[in-house]
């Protein structure tokens, strides 16, 4: 009964929280009125856009996702330093390559996140996803070893995402 | 100290904008030009935030946020046009 009520009137609690957070940031003020208005927006917008969402994405381990994002932030800074070094150095020494990375994620949001993270981190840009959604085409700026790159993407980024977005305990 | 650092940063940003502009003019293909425009608007955001610090005014934040939103929509629209020959299918 309780969950039915929550599902009906608060279809996406996480989205509501995000909207409230963004509203408070935008206003740059923590007054009571802003909390009220932000809460109202966070409640009404998911209700109004309910038909637009095909399926509510489910998170199984939100806390783990937060920790994962913190690590990604560190990786982004490191990636930037690395790419900066590559760009300033001689461009004839670069070893660009297209690498096909097999992916096992099925959820739309998880796939989008993986592709975005690959684009933001060390020397790689995700260029295309195959039609059967099983292979990600990745372009690397300076790839020494294709196998190592595939392994790193799978272990470092895909495994945690898989853990967050699937319900199996492994 | 900031009185010296900010003009220096403005000079560096200008140099970056000039390099991007050169790529925009030279760019052999259309995707190159779109990429240059994309970089141009992101650098413009940085320049506006910098300018806001220089003048000590928080008003420039809104301008920067608007450019970020509009620039993204513009890039996606043009890239989509290249991809499909049409923006709204």
């Amino acid at each position: 009964m309780m969950t039915l009520f929550a599902n009906r009137w608060l279809p996406q609690p996480l989205l509501s929280l995000c909207l409230l957070f963004i509203w408070l940031l935008l206003m740059n003020d923590l007054g009571f009125g802003h909390w009220l208005l932000g809460g109202l927006l966070g409640w009404v917008i998911p209700l109004l856009t309910q038909l637009f969402w095909e399926r509510t994405p489910r998170l199984y381990k939100p806390l783990k996702l937060c920790l994962f994002f913190l690590r990604i932030l560190g990786d982004i800074v490191f990636a930037n330093l690395q790419v900066a070094k590559l760009i300033v150095g001689s461009s004839s020494k670069l070893r660009p390559a297209f690498v096909e990375v097999p992916v096992e994620l099925e959820d739309d949001l998880a796939l989008t996140m993986l592709a975005s993270i690959v684009s933001l981190t060390p020397g790689t840009v995700s260029a295309d996803l195959s039609d059967d959604r099983k292979t990600l085409l990745v372009h690397g700026l300076d790839v020494a070893d294709e196998e190592a790159l595939i392994r790193e993407i799978k272990q470092r980024y895909e495994a945690p995402l898989k853990e967050v977005f699937t319900c199996s305990p492994t | 100290m900031l009185a010296y650092v900010i003009p220096l940063c403005l000079a560096i940003m200008t140099l970056a904008l000039i390099l991007t502009l050169l790529r925009l003019i030279k760019g052999p293909d259309l995707p190159d030009r779109i990429l240059a425009l994309d970089t141009l608007y992101i650098n413009a955001i940085a320049l506006i935030v910098l300018f806001g610090i220089w003048l000590g005014s928080e008003l420039y934040f809104e301008a920067a946020l608007l450019i970020a939103v509009m620039g993204f929509v513009g890039t996606v629209a043009v890239a989509k046009y290249l991809l499909r020959g049409d923006i709204i299918e």
């Binding site: 935008l26 930037n80 070893r95 840009v125 | 994309d38 806001g52």
Partner: protein
């Protein structure tokens, strides 16, 4: 303003603008489109990030309370930069742009 804070603001401003410059340099000098794509998606996002951190520090120490709304710009750029890079890469793949000769591996047919 506290000289330490001022120093931090100056350092992050310098870092931000240097990253933006490096991104633009990459865009200018790298040999083919796919390699040029790397500069703006990474270096430039961090360039704006540096500026935004400086702006947050500066305005939070003006005596009007904490100022965090600049975070929205970075958040938005972090979400949108990979998307636009992906769209551009797809467009370039479809147009079959010339690859640098050293590139190993080939993209599949569209």
């Amino acid at each position: 303003m506290n000289p330490w804070i001022e120093g931090l603001v100056a350092i992050s401003l310098l870092l931000g603008s240097l990253f933006a410059l490096i991104g633009a340099l990459g865009l200018y000098k790298l040999p083919d489109f796919y390699m040029r794509l790397h500069g703006p998606t990474k270096a430039t996002t961090l360039g704006v990030g540096g500026m935004v951190v400086a702006s947050m520090l500066y305005f939070s120490n003006q005596g009007n309370g904490l100022s965090l709304h600049e975070l929205l710009i970075t958040l938005f750029l972090f979400i949108t930069a990979p998307v636009s890079a992906h769209m551009l890469a797809k467009a370039a793949l479809q147009q079959k742009l010339r690859l640098s000769d050293k590139t190993r591996g080939r993209p599949w047919e569209q």
